[in-house]
């Protein structure tokens, strides 16, 4: 939400959103130093929750250096060193969005360090899977790494941005799957509902993206509307759009179930 206006917060509240869950993200440009990340983590843990609270929205966040900035392992190590200080903040749910971008060796090295940080601090994990042509291979590499660490419990990890060619491997291995709704890349509302129809509603959720690029903060409420158009009943929609995210995030002691509308 750090690149979004108060109009977006207003619209989200009016559409019935109950909480915001904001992962550490690439800024659209490379931050030049660990100090830049320090300021960003202050923004995620102090300033943005205050901004969200002006609209009555609880704000949660995840911390990491994004895989898009993982090619510089030296910088990544400096950033990893400052994360523990922020993990104590009351709105931090875990480590994320970590993962891979181009599936390079350095990205893998930095992902390994993030997995270790999460495992040794008993944090939930939010995983970004690569874009477009890199997604299938990257998702498989990420799953293999998570499974190789015996401390990692799949039910405490959500593998985000799944599509038709990656959802099965994620669910089969016991992880949660996230479907990120975007107008062009990743998943559309209709395809997300198709995936739910094929794979069921267990350990899967949908999320809207609210980043600095072309993204739709109300994508989930729109998908809920589309589910109704397809004849899904209210409890089905509630399960997918509301109960499932609560079930996953409630595994963090920091998360409080929203009071509801």
């Amino acid at each position: 939400m750090v690149s979004r206006t108060t109009d977006d917060y207003q619209a989200m509240v009016m559409a019935g959103c109950q909480a915001v869950c904001e992962p550490a993200f690439w800024a659209g440009f490379d931050r030049s130093s660990a100090q830049g990340f320090y300021d960003y983590f202050c923004q995620l843990t102090q300033h943005e929750p205050r901004r969200a609270s002006m609209f009555g929205l609880p704000h949660y966040t995840w911390l990491c250096i994004n895989p898009k900035e993982s090619e510089d392992v030296g910088l990544a190590e400096e950033v990893l060193a400052i994360i523990p200080e922020f993990m104590k903040s009351p709105n931090v749910l875990g480590i994320g969005e970590i993962g891979l971008n181009k599936n390079s060796r350095n990205e893998i090295a930095v992902l390994e360090k993030h997995i270790d940080l999460a495992a040794s601090n008993d944090q939930l994990i939010l995983v970004h899977t690569p874009h477009l042509e890199d997604k299938r291979k990257g998702t498989q590499l990420i799953l293999d790494m998570l499974k190789a660490d015996s401390r990692i419990k799949p039910e405490r990890c959500i593998i985000d941005h799944v599509e038709e060619h990656t959802v099965r491997m994620v669910l089969d291995d016991g992880f949660w799957a996230g479907m990120t709704l975007y107008p062009e890349t990743k998943c559309t509302s209709n395809r997300a509902i198709d995936i739910l129809e094929v794979y069921g509603t267990e350990r899967i959720w949908m999320n809207s993206a609210c980043d600095w690029g072309n993204s739709v903060p109300l994508a989930v409420p729109k998908a809920m509307q589309e589910m109704k158009r397809r004849g899904k009943n209210a409890s089905y929609v509630d399960q997918v759009a509301y109960q499932n995210p609560i079930a996953f995030m409630s595994q963090s002691p920091r998360f409080s179930e929203p009071e509801g509308v």
Binding site: W26, K68, E71, N101, K102, N103, S104, R105, N106, E107, I108, P130, H131, L132, E133, D134, K135, R136, K137, Q140, L141, E163, E164, H165, N190, R191, D194, V198, R229, R230, G231, K232, N233, Y236
Partner: protein, 115 residues
Amino acid sequence: MAIQSNRIANEPFPVFIWPFQGHMADRKNILDLYFLDARARLIDIAAFMDRVNRAEGETDFRYDQFQDALKALESDQPNRAENVLLAFSDPTDEPIPVATTKAACGAWPGEANSD
């Protein structure tokens, strides 16, 4: 045989009722909901290919994979979307030595052209 649909007859615009709540969707319901949208997208794809034809010069790996992906539509199995995605995917399993770009272009350039 009369074609049955849950579209209410004689309405100028589609109006829908929901007899299939909680059950497997009926194919005609799906057509009522999505046929026009899918038809428009299909014409867009055809027009895109015509546009490529009319232009000059060479296409590249993206268009080769686009044409491969179209073959997935000829299948009668319900995993066409998955196969379209796989047609554009890097089929290799090993990490690349170094990322020289952050961007993905939507089709796999091949090992020779990859980063």
